[in-house]
Symmetry: none
Subunit: 230 residues, 2 copies
């Protein structure tokens, strides 16, 4: 199930999309203006944003880059009647996963979405509550429960790193990938920064004597989160 934000001022298209995507079983909200979109973006933390470029009160490109500054973990898809090369390039540079020119068949959008979801498995929304042994995770609440039954609050970054590792569990995630996905391609936190978050996360999962979840370092690669089933 995806958490989708549609930003589209055309009544017709907007409602069709909303209805259709809901029909597929996704959580889906529809903003008709930039300001409304901003509110819903903050409130819902969508992992997929369908963005029109021509909006009444702002420009979809600008709006999208504001969103990107806040969070990196959502797929961005532009829908626009503009078919000029510059706009398309700009859109892709913001980090859009795709740019669909109107007019398009609903079917096209779906096919493109399917393709994205197939490759980008990591955008799948996780269940509200995740349980492994005594350990519990609530990503949306920024909370975990440790081996002693204590609820621990996670900061945004801690949570983002845990989520990244969790979605790719059993696979070594390179340091660079962590940095790129959490901080962005252009930011370079100092070397020890990532490790510090790992320390905190380890303190949490090592509180479980059965080690239902482990975070190992793969030297000269990065980190690997392992889930141990009984």
């Amino acid at each position: 199930m995806l958490n989708i934000l549609i930003v589209e001022d055309e009544e017709n298209l907007g409602s069709t999309l909303e209805e259709y995507l809901r029909g597929l079983g996704h959580k889906c909200v529809w903003a008709k203006s930039g300001s409304e979109a901003t509110l819903l973006f903050k409130k819902n933390s969508p992992n997929l944003v369908l963005m029109d470029i021509g909006l009444p009160d702002t420009n979809g490109l600008k709006l999208a880059s504001l969103f990107r500054k806040e969070r990196k973990d959502f797929v961005l898809l532009f829908l626009s009647a503009l078919n000029d090369p510059e706009t398309k390039v700009e859109a892709l540079e913001i980090g859009a996963e795709d740019y669909i020119t109107k007019p398009f068949a609903l079917k096209e959008l779906i096919l493109r979405l399917e393709r994205i979801l197939k490759t980008q498995a990591s955008f799948e929304t996780l269940p509200e509550e995740i349980v492994h042994g005594p350990l519990k995770i609530w990503f949306r609440r920024y909370e975990v429960k440790d081996g002693n039954g204590n609820i621990i609050a996670l900061s945004q970054k801690e949570c983002a790193i845990l989520e990244l590792l969790y979605k790719k569990h059993n696979v070594a995630v390179p340091r660079e990938e962590i940095i790129e996905k959490i901080w962005g391609e252009d930011k370079f936190p100092s070397n020890r920064t990532v490790d510090n978050y790992i320390v905190k996360l380890r303190k949490w999962c090592e509180s479980d004597p059965n080690r239902s979840i482990e975070i190992q370092s793969i030297r000269s690669i990065g980190y690997k989160l392992t889930i141990n089933h009984e």
Copy 2:
């Protein structure tokens, strides 16, 4: 390095693309007609096809579906001046990874290619889990299972060498090639270094009494990994 086939009748665009992609270090051939494309497709087995739809002697869509019938392991990208919904849907249904409408900036193609290459590392990717007899390999996890059922962690170099040999199984891989691919052209580890990694890998695969996987040394050449099916 990718093996690319460009199918495009416009001289200008075709040569620009070919030149550019070669500049990036890819192997790249350019067909100006459908018949030529068919020949080159069979000859080269490309893993990326850039296909124009309006061709002199055939239709790009038809041609692409013929290609797809033969092989599925290539990425397909359409470049076309046609912007009508039906064509686009048809293209995506054939399994196109993307459909770029002309006019487009070279930059757009590059950005879209980059995105595809980032997510679809699947060109080279081996299966998540590889099984031969009791032996198992998980390259992305940096782990193997030996003949006694023990999970053994592999270091980055051990894993890289195993992967190299595995991909070329049954073929002798020269020492120099191993060194070049793993260490880089400019580094020269002493002769015994490679052997040491082979020792570790042999300890692993010789734990299987059936010798499902063997690593033999080919004197004065290098090493050969053999897979023995029953």
